[in-house]
Symmetry: C2
Subunit: 155 residues, 2 copies
Amino acid sequence: EEVLIRGVAHNADVAKVSLLGVPDQPGIAGSVFETLGTHSVNILLIVQAESHEGHNDISFLVSSEMLGQVREDLEALADKIGASKLLVDEGVGTVSVVGEGVQRESGIAGRMFSSLAREEINIDLISTSNLMISCVVAEDSLEQAVQAIHREFLE
Amino acid sequence: EEVLIRGVAHNADVAKVSLLGVPDQPGIAGSVFETLGTHSVNILLIVQAESHEGHNDISFLVSSEMLGQVREDLEALADKIGASKLLVDEGVGTVSVVGEGVQRESGIAGRMFSSLAREEINIDLISTSNLMISCVVAEDSLEQAVQAIHREFLE
Ligand SMILES: C[C@@H](O)[C@H](N)C(=O)O
Ligand SMILES: C[C@@H](O)[C@H](N)C(=O)O
């Protein structure tokens, strides 16, 4: 069953927030996002990968214009949950391949990631669902990233 | 604009594969998934979060029945890309909240994660898209996790 790639999406107006070294215990992730929920923060991506020695990192993207509003709250939140560090990076962007079942075929992810590699663009974060494979890359590389992925899938 | 939660999905027939300590350089992610692509491996989730000191971890889920077929290849792959460790965990499952725009509202993620926390279920991996928030938890906790999230959103 062939996967149809419907499009390539991208977003430059995002900022990455990473809470590093949070305790890997029930309630931590809930606390982070309930707090953000009270500020009606628009969240564009959440990734959490493998924990290490009782700690983990939680990364998420917010719209750039929203970052200013929540920055102080993020500092307080980082303290509250016991994060070892709060990292905020406004110089990022997302590029995504969209289509029904995209993540099923590992070949599609491979082609997407390799097309970025050929441009020497480093992949910062990766998040997928059945409809979309998203990569976070440096904002300065975003346009080049979008073109490379467009060439790979839509030409 | 209210987000409509359409459903709670889950999958117990998955195995987690994590490549730990891979070089954080262009081409690594491409190499992993192109290799898996040659084996027609069905990938159900890919997450990569923040890198540390020039290295990162890449985690993905494969269907349980497929794990046997690819296990040797995974060992070879881990060596090829210079991973410090290959971790395979068959005792996991996924639970997801599905609905248009779910990740936009941080409150929804907060409620989902907190409902797991109240059951003292630890969240292993998190991946989101505009349509779905997915958590990987221990397979032994999956049924309880699904019920808790169902109660939170659909009752
Ligand atoms: C790190 C964080 O996700 C934690 N494991 C939790 O369940 O909340
Ligand atoms: C770690 C891996 O994702 C690497 N940054 C790459 O671009 O392939």
